[in-house]
Structures are given as structure tokens and as C-alpha cells.
């Protein structure tokens, strides 16, 4: 497996997620798409850490693991974000009885 293959997969994943986030009208689907984009980023970070981490940094193990630590952080933040996002979705559903994003335009005006 080469770095290029990793990056291509990540880019495809990211594009899929972006399309879903911008085009789907269901809030749950949008949240899921955002997760896909997170994971695309995770993949990129880990791939770079694996293939192109600077030689100087390989002397200490903690430096070598920078990318992986980043990925762990992103996963944690994503979990928190999903918890918060779902909370908002529930609140929205309770108030408007819909999870359709196009109808949630209260931010206008």
C-alpha cells in the first residue's frame, strides 16, 4: 500500500461526506456525512504519520505517534460533537416535528 492510495481513498471519502453534508436534507444523514468527513481526515493524518513523519522525530516514540494521537483526538471530539448534534436534532424535532434541514431556516433575519 502506498501513500497515494491512502490519500485517494481519503479524498473519495471526504468528497462523499461533503456531498452528503451539503445535499442531504435529513439532519441525521448530514451528521453521518460529517462523520465520514472526519474519518477521511483521520485516515490522511495517520497515513502521513506512517509514511512521511520526519526522520528526526523517529528517535522518540511519542513523536512518531503524533498523527495517531491526532486521530484519537479527532475521534473523541467527533463523539462529543455527535452527542451535541443529536441533542440539537432532538430539540429541533420536538419543536418542529421535522428533521428536514431546508425547513430549519430560523437563522434568517
Amino acid at each position: 500500500m502506498s501513500l497515494e492510495a491512502m490519500l485517494i481513498v481519503a479524498a473519495v471519502l471526504f468528497a462523499i461526506g461533503l456531498y452528503g453534508a451539503l445535499a442531504r436534507s435529513n439532519v441525521i444523514a448530514v451528521l453521518m456525512s460529517i462523520e465520514i468527513m472526519f474519518n477521511a481526515v483521520n485516515l490522511t493524518v495517520v497515513a502521513f504519520a506512517r509514511y512521511v513523519a520526519p526522520l528526526a522525530l523517529r528517535e522518540s516514540i511519542s513523536s512518531v505517534l503524533t498523527g495517531q494521537v491526532f486521530a484519537i483526538f479527532i475521534i473523541t471530539v467527533a463523539a462529543a460533537e455527535i452527542a451535541l448534534g443529536l441533542g440539537i436534532v432532538f430539540a429541533m424535532y420536538r419543536n418542529t416535528e421535522t428533521v428536514n434541514l431546508t425547513e430549519a431556516s430560523q437563522l434568517r433575519n
Binding site: 453534508a21 434541514l101 431546508t102 431556516s105 430560523q106 437563522l107 434568517r108 433575519n109
Partner: protein, 727 residues
């Protein structure tokens, strides 16, 4: 020994009084407003004492050169502030502070009871301070600042009774007309500043007055730092400013209107000091003027022309203050003409004596107004019996103005006439002859209008005063003249008013001979021609000396003056003496209880209540007399309409030419271009905002799409750019 702070104090004391009155007395202690008068009088008394010390020290030969202080350093041009103490300054300091002091004392009586008395003394303080500062200035910019300050305070004082439309209009007129001249002065200053490098090459400062004198003088190598056309232009610019301030033709129209202010204001500003500022300015730059024959000729001819022209207008005025106003314009013309023919000493000598007798004449007019309630001489008459002191003092001042030996005016006017008579080489010979002719004709007219004024006011029978004038105005359906009071109390003015007049009267008698004895080597320990020689020393360069006393000129001018007096006497004294008892106006006779409260504004308010004239003994009053000069027909009409100068300026120049061309152009420019640009900026923003506001849909996904699009665009742009660099 005179130190620099001591000299500055002469200027700062009245200024301090101004600040105290405006910031403390008027806002917090307005009930004790009269204190402001005492404060100013105290400040001026100290100023006068200091001025006398300075004069004495300076005459004694003390070195009073103080280093000027740098105020602004603008690279090529350094603007300084400092003191210029020369004979002219030390004389002017005494005249300004002395005359002002007397007038403030008089004002205590004249302005008593006026609700704005604190404001009045505040303006008076500011004016006197500005005038003293003007006289002391060593730098042209400093001088110009005080020059404008004098203009502002005169605006405030002329419009002191701003509830009268005529006073407000007169104040505006004075301000704007003098401004026209000031533009010339300002241009001259700017032009001087442009010559900075040439001045600097000689180690001179282009704004330092003694340096300007120096620059105008021919250099040993030929030519001058400031010479030829530039010198003439600068001199004419300075003269334009001086002509505006001193009411010289064609900028004289504001001065007679300025009589709308309180009478002591007229006495101080429009007789003794402010209008003298113009003459002072030309005298200050005399070393510059005398190097340019063209400018000198202009000054001499305009001065002579004004002297005669204003005198003709003085012949027909009915308002006593307007007669005096034209007389002032005319006398200032004498001074300008004298400067123009190089008679430096005589011009300032006349300025000196004129300050006393003209201030006295105005104070006399105020006193007369106090008794008769009006300034219109047609309604006066016979006041001699009721106010002997005022009569005697006005007579002295009048004789002095006419130039009857041995009063002050004779000596100074005689020196001017002699200078023109003996001629010289400052200007072409024909200019001397023209000036002499104009001035000697002016003497005849001066004598005539002065005695017409005195006879109409003080001789004959009383013609009813302000009460009658108001009745007549009502009968003929004219609007009520605002400056006329119906309170008539025939009697002498209070002592606080007569006393300063008496002091001025003494000065009007003695100032001429005592200050400048001409026949003998010395008089009362004062050396002959003391004043002229002392003042002439102010000009450090070669210039024509004051001529010796000349019997021919003295005889000619006295004969002409007497002829004028006799003519006036013949025309006015024997005419209309028939008494009629049919017209009776209640008039209070004798010393009034509330003397000093007869201010027109107050009287107008008091008229609503019970008449203050109740119980007074009615006296017979003489009927109106026809004006004998009216037989002059069209000439009388021409004169009484002031040669239609006001109509020419306001009707033709301002309303037609100015409004239709320049004002219309700027109006169009303002409405179309300036307003258009402002509107354009507004509408672009508003409409642009409307378009952009459409983008706010509230659709999160739309926003996201736009962000992505933007990011992609940046990325593509970056790639294209780096590809371009790489390629």
C-alpha cells in the same frame, strides 16, 4: 526697568478681565454685573500706567528689544510671537488704553440698567486686549491673528443689541466688508511666506516685521530682497486690509452702519482705535511702502479721495452719529493721504489727536441721545440750555475737528497740509498737489458739517426729541424706529458720563500743542516737535522729515475752516426760528432721577407700563424745519443716498452679479456635484446591500456550499498561480 512680562501684562490684563467676566461673573454673579465694569476699568488703569512707563522708558532711550519666541516651525518659515516696541507702539499703547479707560468709565453711566452689561464689558475687554495685542505684535501672522480678533469683537459689539434687526445687519455688514479687505492682507502675508528662501539667504525671517522692512530696502549690491512688482503687490495687499478696517473708499460703507452699536462702542471702535488700526498697519509697514512709489500714490489718492468724499456725505446726514461716522472716515482719509505722501509723523500725530476729539464727539452724541431719546438731529435743537457741559465739550471737540487754533486738531491737520504743501520726492509732484487740493476742500466741508451738526443739535429751539419722532413715524405709518426712545428728559447727563468727557476735552485742547510744540524750542519742558520727531524714529530708514510750521498753510486752512463755519451758521442759525406753541410734548426737565436708565431697549419695555412721563411739565417745542440743503435737489438726493453706494453694492454687485454668477455657480456645484456624490455613495451602499441581503437565506447547506465553492476557487487560484510561477 521694564521687563518683558511687564509689557505683556499690558495686553494680558484686559484679556484676563475678559476671561473673568465671561467665565465667572456672567454665569455665576450676573446680578452684580456692574462689577465687570469696575474690573475692566481696574485692568485698563494698570495697563495705562504700564504703557506710560513703557513710553517714558522708551523715550529715555531704554533698550526694549525682546527676543521673539518661536511658535511654529514650518521648515522654510518660522512663525514667532513677540513684542515690537518702537515709538509707534508705545504711543499707540497709551492712546488705546487711555481712551478705552475713559470710555469704560463713561459706559458705567451709559450702559447702566442694560440687561447685557456683563456681556458688554466682556466684549469691550476682548476688544481692548485684541487692539493692544495688535499694536505689540512683532510677527505678521501674530498681527493678523489680533487683526481678526479686533474684527470679531467689533462684530460682537456692533451687534450688541442683536434683537434689533438693523444692528444684526450692520454687524454682518461690518464683518463681511472688512473681510474683503482682509483677503488682500492675507494674500500679502502668504506671498511674503513664499519669499521665504530669498529672505533666508539674507538671514531674514519673511514674517518678522523688522526683517520685512529690511528686505524692502535696496541692497548694496543693487536690487532688494523684496523689490519691484512683488513689493508693490504686497504693499497693495496690506493697504487693502488697512482700507477695509479704516473705512477707506471703496470699502467705507460699513462704518456708518456700524453706528447701530451702543454709543461708547462707536466712540472706542469706530472713532478712536479700531479704525485707526488700518492707519497703524500702513504706518507699521511704512518702510516697505516708501520703497514703492506706485503703492504710495494709490494710498495717497485713495486717502485724499476718501477724505473729501466722506465729508460730502457727512453734509446731509440727519443722524448725529452718522455725521460723525462719515467725519471719521474722512479724517482717516487725511491720515492715509498723509502716509501716502510720506508724511509719517504727521499721520500718526493726527491719529493721536483724532482719537481724543473724535471719542469726545461720540461720547457727546451719546450724552445728547440720553437727553433727547433720539439720534436724529431733526428732532433735537436747543439742547445748549439744558446740557451746558455737553455743549461746551462737543464745541471744543468740534472746533478741534475743524482745526481751529489752538486746539489739538489744528496742529495735526496743519502738519498734514504742510507736508502736502511743501511737497517732496516720495511721489510725483502732481500727487502732492492733488492731495493738498482734496484735503483743503475737505477742511471746508468738515467745518460745514461739524457746525451744521452742532447748530442743529444745540442751538435754536427744542424740536421734541424721541417722543416727537415716534409720533411722526406713527402718523406717516412708518415702522417704529428701534433705536428711538420716547423718554425725553432735558438735563445734563450724570457725572460719571460727563467726567470722562471733560478729561477728553482737556486732551482735545492740549494734546496738539503740548505734545508737539511748534513755534518754540521747548514748552513745559517738552522739546519742539517732540511728538513728530519721536514717532519718526520708528522708521529706521531714510524718509521725509516732518516739515516746520508754515504760516501760509495755517492761514489758508484757518480761513477755509472759518468760511465753512460761517456758511453753516448762515444756513442754519437764522432759519426757522419762529416758535410755535401748538405742539406740546410732555418733557421732563432737569436732572432725571433714573439717569442712565434711558437705554433704548429698556425704555421700549418700560413703555408698556404706566407712562414714566406722568406729571412732567409740558414745554413748547418748535416745529420741524426744512433742511436748507434739500434745495440742492438731485445733488442732495445723491448725497443723502450715499452716492448710491449701498445700492450699487447690495443691489447690483451682491444681488445681481454675485448671486447670479458666482453664487449660482457654487449653488449648482453644491447641489449637483457635491450633493450628487453624497447621494451616489448612499444609494450604491443601499442598493448593493439589498442585493447582498438576498444571499442570506437561512439555509445552512447553501452557506456550506458557498464556503466550499470559495475554498475550491482559492485552491484553483493558488494552483494556477504556483503553476504560472513554476512555468
Amino acid at each position: 526697568m521694564v521687563t518683558e512680562p511687564l509689557v505683556w501684562a499690558i495686553f494680558f490684563l484686559p484679556l484676563l478681565s475678559f476671561l473673568l467676566i465671561t467665565l465667572v461673573i456672567r454665569p455665576f454673579f450676573n446680578r452684580y454685573a456692574v462689577v465687570s465694569g469696575y474690573l475692566l476699568i481696574l485692568a485698563l488703569a494698570v495697563s495705562l500706567a504700564l504703557s506710560l512707563v513703557v513710553l517714558r522708558q522708551h523715550y529715555g532711550g531704554a533698550e526694549l528689544d525682546f527676543e521673539p519666541h518661536t511658535w511654529l516651525n514650518l521648515g522654510d518659515v518660522v512663525i514667532q510671537m513677540g513684542l515690537l516696541l518702537d515709538p509707534v507702539t508705545s504711543i499707540m499703547l497709551v492712546v488705546v488704553s487711555g481712551v478705552s479707560l475713559l470710555i469704560q468709565i463713561y459706559s458705567l453711566g451709559y450702559m447702566r440698567g442694560d440687561p447685557g452689561v456683563a456681556r458688554y464689558f466682556a466684549y469691550m475687554s476682548l476688544f481692548t486686549a485684541a487692539m493692544l495685542g495688535l499694536v505689540l505684535s512683532v510677527n505678521v501672522v501674530q498681527l493678523y491673528a489680533f487683526w481678526e480678533l479686533v474684527g470679531v469683537s467689533s462684530y460682537l459689539l456692533i451687534g450688541f443689541w442683536h434683537d434689533r434687526p438693523s444692528a444684526a445687519a450692520a454687524a454682518k455688514k461690518a464683518f463681511i466688508v472688512t473681510r474683503i479687505g482682509d483677503v488682500g492682507f492675507l494674500l500679502a502675508i502668504i506671498y511674503l511666506a513664499f519669499h521665504g528662501p530669498e529672505f533666508a539667504a539674507q538671514g531674514l525671517n519673511p514674517l518678522h516685521i523688522p526683517d520685512i522692512w529690511q528686505a524692502a530696502q535696496p541692497l548694496a549690491t543693487g536690487g532688494a530682497v523684496l523689490g519691484g512688482g512683488a513689493l508693490t503687490l504686497i504693499a497693495l495687499g496690506i493697504f487693502a486690509g488697512a482700507a477695509g478696517k479704516s473705512g477707506q473708499f471703496p470699502l467705507h460703507t460699513w462704518l456708518p452702519d456700524a453706528m447701530e452699536g451702543p454709543t461708547p462702542v462707536s466712540a472706542l471702535i469706530h472713532a478712536a482705535t479700531m479704525v485707526a488700526a488700518g492707519v497703524f498697519l500702513v504706518a507699521r509697514f511704512f518702510p516697505l511702502f516708501q520703497q514703492t512709489q506706485e503703492a504710495m500714490t494709490v494710498v495717497a489718492l485713495i486717502g485724499g479721495f476718501t477724505a473729501l468724499g466722506a465729508a460730502t456725505l457727512g453734509l446731509v446726514m440727519d443722524d448725529i452719529k452718522r455725521v460723525m461716522a462719515y467725519s471719521t472716515v474722512s479724517q482717516l482719509g487725511y491720515m492715509m493721504a498723509a502716509l501716502g505722501i510720506g508724511a509719517f509723523g504727521p499721520a500718526l500725530f493726527h491719529l493721536f489727536t483724532h482719537a481724543f476729539f473724535k471719542a469726545l464727539l461720540f461720547l457727546g452724541a451719546g450724552s445728547v441721545n440720553h437727553a433727547s431719546g433720539t439720534f436724529n438731529m431733526r428732532y433735537m435743537g436747543g439742547l445748549r440750555k439744558h446740557m451746558p457741559w455737553t455743549y461746551a465739550l462737543v464745541l471744543i471737540a468740534g472746533l478741534s475737528l475743524v482745526g481751529i487754533i489752538p486746539l489739538a486738531g489744528f496742529w495735526s491737520k496743519d502738519e498734514i497740509l504742510t507736508s502736502a504743501w511743501v511737497s517732496g520726492s516720495t511721489v510725483d509732484p502732481w500727487v502732492y498737489q492733488a492731495v493738498f487740493g482734496l484735503l483743503i476742500a475737505g477742511v471746508l466741508l468738515t467745518a460745514f458739517y461739524t457746525f451744521r451738526m452742532i447748530i442743529l443739535t444745540f442751538h435754536g429751539d427744542f424740536r421734541g426729541g424721541g417722543a416727537r419722532e415716534l409720533e411722526d413715524a406713527e402718523e406717516s405709518g412708518l415702522p417704529r424706529p428701534s433705536s428711538v426712545s420716547e423718554e425725553v428728559h432735558l438735563g445734563e447727563s450724570p457725572r460719571v458720563m460727563v467726567l470722562p468727557m471733560a478729561v477728553l476735552g482737556v486732551a482735545a485742547i492740549l494734546a496738539g500743542y503740548v505734545a508737539n510744540p511748534q513755534w518754540v524750542k521747548s514748552f513745559l519742558l517738552i522739546p519742539g516737535h517732540w511728538f513728530s520727531y519721536y514717532v519718526e524714529a520708528a522708521v529706521p530708514f531714510d524718509h521725509p522729515k516732518t516739515p516746520a510750521f508754515n504760516w501760509e498753510v495755517a492761514l489758508i486752512s484757518t480761513a477755509v475752516a472759518l468760511a465753512g463755519i460761517v456758511l453753516a451758521y448762515l444756513l442754519y442759525q437764522f432759519m426757522g426760528r419762529k416758535r410755535t406753541q401748538t405742539l406740546e410734548v410732555p418733557v421732563e426737565i432737569g436732572e432725571p432721577e433714573g439717569a442712565g436708565v434711558a437705554e433704548p431697549t429698556l425704555a421700549a419695555e418700560g413703555a408698556d407700563g404706566p407712562s414714566p412721563l406722568h406729571g412732567h411739565e409740558p414745554v413748547p417745542v418748535a416745529p420741524q424745519r426744512p433742511e436748507p440743503l434739500e434745495r440742492g435737489g438731485p445733488i442732495y438726493a445723491l448725497l443723502s443716498r450715499k452716492y448710491f453706494m449701498d445700492e450699487l453694492y447690495e443691489g447690483l454687485l451682491v444681488r445681481r452679479v454675485f448671486y447670479r454668477s458666482f453664487a449660482a455657480l457654487t449653488d449648482w456645484f453644491d447641489r449637483t456635484l457635491v450633493d450628487g456624490l453624497v447621494d451616489l455613495a448612499g444609494s450604491v451602499c443601499r442598493n448593493g446591500g439589498r442585493v447582498v441581503a438576498q444571499l442570506q437565506t437561512g439555509q445552512v447547506q447553501f452557506y456550506g456550499a458557498v464556503i466550499v465553492l470559495g475554498a475550491v476557487l482559492i485552491l484553483v487560484g493558488y494552483l494556477a498561480y504556483s503553476a504560472g510561477l513554476g512555468g
